[in-house]
Symmetry: C2
Subunit: 446 residues, 2 copies
């Protein structure tokens, strides 16, 4: 679909408020269930409604799109994996067709606009649906492509001279994350317990077992992989977009004190794998096309290796991102505003690098960008940066202060591109750590 | 099943050679297919035969085990996940029953021993079956519990004074690996290409793009998780064995030069995720009971945190492990002989630590021990240690020498406990890297 086509499309026969993230130019995909039907099933969001694709497809909703013969991806599947695996052309065709159906001057009025009976069973208020993980996530990888974040953290731990590691501008740094702990927005986050270093200055390094005292968030974008590759194959950076499905917001919760003690020499482990939250609606790569932007500049003269060189420079996105904190007092504070253009590498580059040694990619794999920060104090993607590793505090207007997150805090991240294309939000409420007398904390053998 | 029960059981009516790894005391589970039926399906190995559990179950093979009502885990499943998810009691009951059926004085002769017609369709020569990955692996985690290996590598990079990191004796160090690149024994290994540091001594650190020059193996054991836990729950170290299914040998192929350039600060990534090979037959935890051993001693006075303290000390295993190299000349050289008792942490401790912050475990998760090395030069689990990071070479009798692996090398690892209980082998042949003109290396958009 071309940029021009998107511009001409503007209004739906369904009411869409001007500040909605789910306008006709978006059509994000998710997995819903309702009180009357608890089976998770695919849907798209439009305005304040979810269009239930299982019901829509079962009632001939796609009969005017004859090339889409795979409607079982909506009628029988409980995740979007099967739809994602159909590939970019099908995603584009289905999204375009749904835009046609929902447009005010639709050429298919009988499909839904004038079919009040079908509307009554396939349109749900967003406030009435429960959202589930949109895809079954086979593998989750988190990168470190937010250059300002990498620099800020580097300054904290190594000083400004050596802030970025020598490899940083030559390849996307990343690590394998934990797929099983990725949860959908709204899932509560239990404050983790683990080992932390008692006194970093003591001669004998001794750890204590405790609830983390440094619970943090990380603002990220993440992309879902659409297509499998075979082991030994690499993805061409200029073909990589064909292997992508869509994008979500991500909060990669982190326990900084547990991380500090465990991460040498193999990287973050249990300090991250207790929870990673994602927004429930997947914005297709197609929908983001009009918002492409240029990545951050490299500072080295050494060119990238050819496998990372893109023909097209506009491969990151201009998405306005924000982080808010809702405290137990009921007040909500904006902690940060930044843009997703603060990345050194694009999704195609992440995919090309991930597969360069032959690692097979799988439908449903999730690739995070790493924390996204701007350059000034109001645009930081983690409390680690805001409070300079806990050495200062963040004053919340008339509501105390924070060094790291406290129990009862809810972190809300939002992303909006413009013209009704947005991500909604990803949120999570921090629950107190288990105490030793809580039995719920121990996994039971049944 | 008690140790004594195992000792009294000795002979099958099927021929089992004295050096077989698959005696009556073992009964390992795997996934097979045959030329006449290409559907992957569960089986057990006995002597030189695979007993096809799909066919056995479909023909009433389990009708004398009435409490085993879940025979569809064998008749309809293409992996062992559903069987594993039934839990330890069921694994024990099914294994014990199969031992009864296969014992020379079986009380159920009509089940198989005298049923020649059934034998003809459910017993296959092991040489005729194709082995598949035994479980669908949701998440793969690799630990670093081989203390001698950690020490040896520490000496190479930091000297003997600081060989082990301060955290090493206080928790199992581990990292999230890549589930999609775990392959079954016999899968060929394409030499990976990637970035390596051109000259570690140069002032400006510059990478070149090349096939790895430092392809290595790592000798490990790995355990499959049987049962799911919920997010936020931890596994009690003294209950952890109930969450385990069985054990395989593992070769965690590594590209040392790619690893050296990429791993700061987030750990190994593409240098590992090109391939990890496992042996095809899963030896159940039950079968390993008679071979329990004491882990390596800790050297610190500081006790382990309670969540890692085991009531029972005998929680690692005495498994004789060996590494052989079959070269393009056709000669086979033994490179190493060691024991799996060279671990500082047990599988229950790995599980307890993995879940301590609340990370959910899933049926089919694979947890590697990390490289297992002994203390002398003939017992090392990686070439990194044998050749001291490539500074010396390994002389192969009348067959040249090796610093790291060469194209055409086949690495074969074996593990044997005793009394007919063994793992068979995990092997992999190294293929040359793709060249720029090979088109097969690029993933195709279909």
């Amino acid at each position: 679909m071309s940029f021009d086509t998107l511009l001409t499309r503007s209004e739906s026969w369904l009411p869409v408020s001007p500040d909605s993230h789910f306008g006709l130019d978006n059509i994000p995909f998710g997995i819903i269930s309702t009180r009357s039907d608890r089976t998770p099933r695919p849907a798209v969001a439009i305005g304040a409604k979810a269009l239930d694709l299982a019901v829509f497809a079962a009632n001939g909703g796609f009969s005017s799109l004859p090339q889409f013969t795979e409607t079982t991806v909506f009628t029988t599947e409980t995740s979007l994996n099967a739809f994602a695996a159909l590939g970019r052309k099908k995603h584009t065709a289905v999204r375009y067709y749904l835009q046609e159906v929902l447009e005010i001057n639709t050429q298919y009025p009988q499909k839904l606009k004038t079919n009040v009976a079908l509307q009554s069973i396939c349109l749900h208020d967003l406030t009435d649906v429960r959202m589930h993980l949109p895809l079954q996530i086979g593998n989750y990888t988190d990168f470190y492509a937010g250059k300002n974040h990498a620099y800020n953290v580097g300054v904290l731990f190594r000083g400004p001279e050596n802030a970025l590691q020598p490899n940083y501008e030559h390849m996307p740094i990343g690590y394998h994350g934990r797929a099983s702990s990725v949860v959908v927005s709204g899932t509560t986050i239990r404050r983790p317990r683990g080992q932390i270093l008692e006194d970093p200055k003591a001669a004998v390094r001794k750890s204590i077992f405790t609830a983390t005292k440094q619970l943090d968030y990380e603002l990220e974008l993440a992309v879902f992989v659409a297509r499998n590759t075979k082991i030994g194959e690499s993805v061409d950076v200029n073909e990589a977009a064909e292997f992508l499905f869509g994008v979500v917001l991500m909060n990669d919760w982190s326990a900084r004190d547990i991380q500090g003690w465990e991460y040498v020499p193999l990287g973050p482990f249990t300090s991250k794998s207790f929870a990673t939250s994602i927004s429930p609606w997947v914005v297709l790569i197609e929908a983001l096309e009009p918002f492409r932007a240029i990545p951050l500049p490299r500072t080295t003269d050494i060119p990238l290796h050819p496998y990372l060189q893109e023909r097209e420079q506009y491969n990151v996105y201009n998405i306005d991102l924000s982080i808010s904190l809702s405290t137990p007092c009921g007040a909500t504070h904006t902690l940060s505003k930044t843009s997703s253009s603060n990345l050194l590498y694009s999704f195609p580059q992440l995919l090309a690098h991930h597969s360069i040694t032959g690692c097979p990619l799988r439908t449903g794999d999730l690739l995070g960008t790493g924390t996204i920060s701007g350059t000034d104090a109001e645009s930081l993607g983690s409390l680690l940066e805001v409070t300079k590793n806990g050495t200062s505090s963040l004053v919340l207007q008339d509501d105390g202060e924070r060094v790291f997150l406290e129990d009862g805090d809810e972190v809300i991240m939002e992303g909006y591109c413009g013209r009704g294309v947005g991500f909604g939000s990803v949120s999570g409420l921090v629950l107190p750590a288990w105490t030793d007398t809580d039995t719920g904390r121990v996994a039971k053998v049944s």
